[in-house]
Amino acid sequence: MDIPYTVTARPDTGLYNAKVGIWLFLASEVMLFGGLFSSYIFLRVGADYPWPVHELNVTLGFVNTLVLIGSSVTVLLAWANLKLRNIGKYKMYMVITVLCAGAFMVNKSFEYKAKFQHYSVTLTDGTILTGHLPHGYEIEFGDVTTLNLTVAGKHSAVDADPVDYVVPYIKGEAPKFKTESGEEIVLDKASFKKLRAEAHDKAVAKAKADGLKETPNWNVKLTAASPITFVLPPSKLLAKPTPGATAIAFRDGTTVEGKMINDKMTLEVDGIDLRATPDKEKSLAFDEHYLGEPWKKAFIDQREHAIAEFNEKYGDGKGGTTRDPLKSATHQKHMFFVPIHSATPEVHDHAKAEGEHKAEAHAPAEHAEGGHGGHHPEVHLERQHVHFFSNFTPKLNSYYAIYFVLTGLHGLHVVAGAMVLGYFVFFNGRMLREDPERLANRVEVGGLFWHFVDLVWIFLFPLLYLL
């Protein structure tokens, strides 16, 4: 009662079962990645913002390409050696393949980590500043005397839980609160549980008294013994705070009233992107409180340089160019993206610049932490000038979104493939002794998958890194 054709091929198809299966599976995978690549094209063609080009580290990507291609060769050698029953070599090549997968993922993790720590801030005029947030980004909201908790009447996804969602962001020591009945409490799990139960009882009683069909929400007021200041990342709020807000709502529905003390964002700028700025020379980035004149000058210099270079390369000798400069994403980037490698522009009179701009723009290196901090100007952005900010994650724009989904899904395939191949070499010792032909089939099928993973990368690399 063995299932036929698990090891030997069926004569009329010439294939054993697993080989049919893996090709079908790969067909499905082609549709999966095909869908994602199509999405990439759709998003890029339809993008209403300058599509990011040449943003990724090509060297890292190229090394990874070599690693994967190499591992495709070694998995093939492993299979061939197993077929020839060179067991030692088979094992060696399999182990190399798995190690290559590991190397690929380590490489990838460096790429990801750099993106998670790198930020992009879109100003209200479309200018984008990229850089690092030396202190992260947190807002300070103070003068708060009362917490308004909302205890949900019916089972709801937003229900007061200040112990998890509010208290952790209080600056300094958590104060004591006075309840409506005048009791003094410290807000912790036990005291809040009691408080919530009381509120719920009141809501139910009210519903009964008023003849309501469902229990209403119930507001609970807690008065702080002394004014509280909150320091928190804005992502912990239910809605993003507006500049000068006098009230904020936490993720659990708790609202507090007070005063915005500080919502400035301190950014160590490592790039100015003016591609989407309508009037580039009047960009907010060159505001005297931010980067100021010297960088504007640097930008103008760079733009002229880029135009000259373009004309030299594509000039038709009659004053025109053979290519449309507006259609070249690369040229646009050369003109309008100003990379920043130093605290002040290099081609500039340093002494004069320091004298003119005592502004925060040229913050001295004492803020510097880690390697590069001191080499970049630091700006303190007003919240009302910030339209949108994100680190280099899917949130930033649809390029990074598709970048993470594509490479993430590909990475998962690498991990899965490595696990399967690792299983064959490390845990299939018995089959190797007793039925090596069958194991060779397994390695062949696993290898086919591995080639597919490699192939996907060969499409990914030019698409995301080069084009």
Binding site: N17, H155, T393
Partner: protein, 650 residues
């Protein structure tokens, strides 16, 4: 001995393995294709029933908006049941009145459950797993353990969907299509986005898609590589052909939906803007998103799956009918080859028509012309399939068993569904009818009295093979007639309402929309008049049809009671089959013992002729099984020439 034993390391010591698996191995974590088929089928039937109850709640809200659900007090008074009801539904139905939020959840989950957890698992996975390996004369699927994984992944997806009702947010509310941007941005104000009905829907879909991927790989491989000796492609039953095509559709069409689900998940959880355009505002505020994405992209990805999905839903019914009709008319299937080629054409074309769901998005005339042409083209193979089945009835001596009743009702019902779809293929009509009840009527005629009748026929037809007993004939007829009447009372009036402009997502059935109540015609007058005879005051305009349809739904519900009784009671109480081939059929599954043991066949089975050799002149009996060389005598394997080998490999 477990079939799994063959697929892993112990190929050489299975001699030690000859013990019967315990209860868990035999019925729960089984790798036997028949058990998995039955698991799939029963899960599918239960989900169909559940989806049907969601629909009843919706229909109540449509016909009697603002009035409490009947039996609400009774349900609330039963401990346990009342807890489940309140956590699932009651939270949004104060005093038993369905509100808009709940109606949206019911609508979204009705669609999802019926399509992805009901019909596909029953029609495709259930029947293909149970019948196909028997019909191609093999002992099991090519990858039995993957088969088990397929079922359990499906199971997890089903549990995930059901559990989403109990979350704080309730289940998803944005329709079964989950169109972005609404679906990407709605109700994000939660403390934990991972505990959100929408997130669970998306994750459950990922599980569901993985399950169907494993299943379809398994089915195709099995059909390609495990057919019995002598069973050439053109000797294979149309059932297997149709399932083969369905498996390809699942294999190739589902991944784009997986892409859509993953990208939407990313939009909701990681804040990306795949489907969100620049400048999107909600409640007067700019959302904290980058924008720059495309809502249309979602629709393209979704419909690239969802149109082939329509054929995934309907082809299993054709597959079953191709077996049921010849067996009950005692005539060969008419146009077997034409059906095979039509099926293949249908499968291919189904990938080229998706944007006819998107005429309203304002695509250019070039694009819409292309999709109108392909849409009209695809009706040709559908009509060929239907016509062949209809001609197969010609001159037959029909046995009206319950399965044949369902099969013969399928033909006109699917015909109505198909013909009402033709006008929708053209943009100028579709623009007016889009999102109205006309569309609902159209596709429900295809999948409800169409597909589901086909599936019922299949249940009655193969039940004796699975259990060794025949389902009760009288209860079967008691099941059929109310179902037929109920289905038509629900769906036929939808065409009239739809052409009157009734929108598909009104939770009050249009009561509060002034214009809807002014339209009346002979049908609405008749409806009102007939209800009047029974002393019921039903408006004589289009709103009156809501009541009629709700009555249809109640009739349909009552009609399922005999089926449920019949299904469970016949396991022990049904009439025993007279032999292994109670319907005198010709295909290989009837050569096995009843019920088939593990390993299926007791002799070395080969196929020596085509699948539908009924009423062969001069034979002495009106069927000639594929595996017999002369009536009553199984063909010798040596009588079949070995298949020619393919070109030599390494």
């Amino acid at each position: 001995m477990s079939a799994a034993a063959h697929t892993h390391d112990h190929a050489h010591d299975h001699a030690h393995d000859h013990h019967e698996p315990g209860f868990w191995g035999k019925y729960i974590f089984s790798t036997d294709h028949k058990t998995i088929g039955i698991q799939y089928a029963i899960s599918g039937l239960l989900f169909l029933l559940f989806g049907f109850f969601l629909m009843l709640l919706m229909r109540w809200s449509i016909a009697y908006p603002g009035q409490p659900i009947p039996g609400f007090q009774v349900i609330n008074s039963i401990p346990g049941v009342s807890w489940v009801f309140n956590e699932m539904i009651g939270r949004w139905a104060p005093g038993g009145v369905v509100n808009g939020e709940l109606y949206n959840m019911l609508g979204a989950m009705h669609g999802t459950i019926m399509v992805f957890l009901g019909i596909v698992p029953l029609g495709f996975a259930g029947f293909v797993n149970f019948v196909m390996p028997l019909q191609i004369g093999t002992i099991d699927m090519a990858f039995p353990r993957l088969n088990m994984w397929s079922y359990w992944l499906f199971f997890v997806s089903g549990i995930g969907m059901l559990a989403s009702f109990f979350l704080g947010t309730g289940s998803v509310q944005t329709g079964w299509t989950m169109y972005s941007p609404l679906a990407s941005t709605t109700s994000l104000a939660v403390t934990n986005i991972w505990l959100h009905g929408h997130t669970w829907w998306l994750l459950s879909m990922v599980f569901n898609i993985s399950a169907s991927l494993l299943g379809s790989v398994n089915v195709i491989t099995t059909i390609i590589n495990l057919r019995a000796k002598g069973l050439t492609w053109m000797r294979m039953s149309f059932f297997c052909w149709a399932m083969f095509i369905v498996a390809f559709l699942l294999l190739l069409a589902f991944p784009p939906l997986e892409v859509a689900a993953l990208l939407q998940l990313s939009d909701r959880v990681f804040g990306s803007s795949f489907f969100l355009p620049t400048g999107l505002m909600e409640g007067g505020q700019h959302l904290d998103i980058s924008g720059g994405g495309s809502p249309l992209l979602y629709q393209h990805l979704f419909w690239f799956l969802a149109h082939p999905e329509v054929y995934v839903l309907i082809l299993p019914a054709f597959a079953i009918l191709a077996e049921v009709i010849p067996a009950n008319t005692r005539r060969p299937l008419w146009g077997y080859k034409a059906m095979v080629y039509a099926g293949l054409t249908l499968g291919f074309l189904s990938f080229l028509v998706w944007a006819h769901h998107m005429y309203l998005t304002g695509m250019g005339t070039m694009m819409s012309t292309y999709f109108q042409i392909t849409t009209v083209l695809i009706s040709v193979p559908s009509v060929i399939l239907l016509t062949c089945l209809m001609i197969s009835l010609w001159g037959g001596s029909i046995r009206f068993t319950p399965q044949m009743l369902f099969a013969s009702a399928f033909l006109p019902m699917f015909g109505i569904g198909g013909l009402t779809g033709l006008p929708l293929a053209f943009t100028f009509i579709d623009l007016a009818l889009h999102d109205t009840y006309y569309v609902i009527g159209h596709f429900h005629y295809v999948v409800a009295p169409g597909t589901i009748f086909g599936l019922f026929a299949g249940v009655y037809h193969w039940y004796p093979k699975a259990t060794g007993r025949i389902m009760n004939d009288f209860l079967g007829k008691l099941h059929f007639w109310p179902s037929l009447v109920g289905m038509n009372l629900i769906f036929a009036p939808m065409f009239i309402q739809g052409m009157g402009g009734f929108h598909r997502r009104w939770y009050d059935g249009g009561k509060y929309f002034e214009q809807t109540s002014s339209v009346s015609n002979w049908f609405t007058e008749l409806t009102s008049g007939v209800f009047g005879l029974f002393g019921m005051n039903v408006p004589n305009n289009l709103l009156g049809l809501n009541v009629l349809m709700t009555f249809g739904a109640i009739i349909l519900m009552l009609g399922q009671v005999p089926f449920i009784l019949n299904f469970w009671l016949s396991i022990k109480g049904g009439k025993k089959v007279k032999n292994d081939n109670p319907w005198d059929c010709t295909t290989l599954e009837w050569a096995t013992p009843t019920p088939p043991p593990h390993g299926n066949f007791t002799f070395d089975i080969v196929a020596v002729r085509g699948p539908y050799e009924y009423s062969v002149p001069g034979l002495g009996q009106d069927f000639f099984p594929q595996w017999e060389s002369s009536p009553g005598k199984a063909a010798e394997p040596s009588a079949v020439p070995a298949a020619p080998a393919a070109a030599a490999h390494h």
